[in-house]
Symmetry: C2
Subunit: 304 residues, 2 copies
């Protein structure tokens, strides 16, 4: 049994009010796989990089015992590169550069030792690539989680709707839920979206936490109120990785366990934003994670 994380493995260059970086490791699969690796022991990436990515960057994954045999390395080509600048509120950003490079022709190959996967996260990527990856799995996994964004709703909505029919859980933010459903109230948006295929919907609300809809129930998870968000890049991917990593570890897929999975995902995301890129989630201690989970409990407990 294993957990597959499909998504970009890439370079980012970031500017925030706190500073800027050169090219550092980024990409949805990078964040999600690192996050999942703290909760589950058999995490496998499917992705593609160029020759420029290099051994030392790949070792960030192998150090965490993440299987990278599904990462294709394209000789003579360059890795996907994104550069962005965050505004002072840290909630909005401008894209400065997007170079698709190897991602433009990405054909996701599932190695044979990945075929026992019971859990798969379709990280943010073109819906066409997500569909292809799913088709190449010989056995339908126990749980398929889809992370996507408004960009794909704008340019590939039909393909996205095809993916939606094949997944168990969709994770998007509140604006994206409104865009996808055409409904303003999130309860109504969730009703519409759950009719499109997924059995569960997670609506990520950034500093306001997250909502889980499914089985006719709703769960409201808080975000940890943070004094400082140093770099929000990858927080959503980290959340998704923590979410599916927790479920793979527990190996029970129901509303109750998804509630806990959201708390674990949120806790890991709260570390992610403390430093640039993947830096903070490359070296977490189990005690740090446990302490943060306890903070979430203290934050929400009340007597009636």
């Amino acid at each position: 049994m294993s957990l597959i994380i499909l998504g970009s493995v890439a370079f980012d260059a970031l500017e925030t009010p706190f500073g800027k970086t050169d090219k550092i490791v980024g990409g949805a699969a990078s964040y999600a796989a690192l996050a999942a690796s703290y909760l589950y022991k058999d995490v496998k990436i499917v992705g593609v990089v160029g020759e420029d990515f290099g051994e030392s960057n790949l070792s960030k994954f192998t150090k965490r015992n993440i299987d990278i045999s599904g990462i294709q390395i394209k000789t003579g080509e360059k890795s996907f590169f994104w550069s962005g600048r965050y505004h002072n509120d840290m909630n909005t950003r401008d894209t400065l550069v997007t170079e698709l490079n190897v991602l433009g022709s990405f054909d996701p190959i599932i190695p044979s030792n990945y075929q026992d996967a019971q859990y798969i996260l379709l990280g943010n990527l073109s819906p066409q690539v997500q569909i292809t990856a799913l088709k190449r799995l010989k056995k339908r996994p126990k749980l398929t989680v889809l992370d996507t964004m408004n960009f794909w709703m704008d340019i590939a909505l039909d393909d996205l709707k095809k993916v939606l029919k094949e997944v168990d859980v969709l994770a998007i933010n509140d604006e994206e839920a409104r865009q996808l459903s055409g409904q303003y109230a999130l309860v109504r948006a969730a009703e519409e979206i759950l009719n499109m295929g997924p059995k569960y919907l997670i609506i990520k609300k950034g500093e306001h936490g997250a909502l889980l809809f499914g089985e006719g129930k709703i769960f409201s998870a808080p975000a940890l109120p943070l004094a400082e968000v140093f770099d929000p890049t990858g927080a959503g991917d980290t959340f998704a990785g923590g979410f599916i990593g927790y479920l793979a570890k527990r190996d029970i897929v129901d509303f109750q366990h998804m509630k806990s999975a959201i708390i674990y995902g949120s806790a890991l995301a709260s570390f992610c934003v403390e430093k640039f890129g993947t830096e903070r989630i490359e070296n977490l201690q189990d005690e740090d994670i446990a302490a943060r989970i306890n903070q979430f409990s203290a934050l929400t407990a009340f007597d009636i």
Copy 2:
């Protein structure tokens, strides 16, 4: 022992995407007192109305056993009147009409039978009137809660800062917390504001719930995800009334009880928005309130 609610008792005319009203009962004290009356038996209003307000409108309070001997009735004058139109998102609104009328010269009189009050809510009003009311209490209450808004930060900041030094709890929304503190991150905003006088700060975030800061702790309360907000007018006042009503009933003032008080305030506010004006909170059943409180528990409970 009793609970004093100071604030406007007024007429509103409202337009929402769902319809519009003629002049109906509005005002911070109206909402807050009605809400508090479901949790505590001895609620007393301090306010002022014109001759136009009329017996039948005052009876909305007396039916709920609310003491109105502190509501001055100004012969030959008119009640405060506000008219507004909500946008489709129900989060923003335009003011169409504001007629101060009796509120322009409001001199809050505390009847002698109010002087045993242990709890007081300084509802949204000019800081000068709030200070005057506090000064006219012969004994400092056990708990003073202040509700205010950006309007007073814009035009009467110095007076507002004087009130802040005299209160135990401040309730404002997230944008107001940022304006008052000059800090964007709410954790930092709370630190600044708690240095201005209040021992506790509630930050109301509308559909995203509320945060409570104090005693070095943070509590995050959810809002009930609603399919329909019919009319948001008075939700914040209802919240504040429910909050202080619960504390007056329990008669214990600490962080733990304030957490529960926020849940009760939120539950009452979730009823308020279901109909125009005060209509829904004029006739609540205890069972309805209990059921809604249970919904809040179910919404946030998780195992770790």
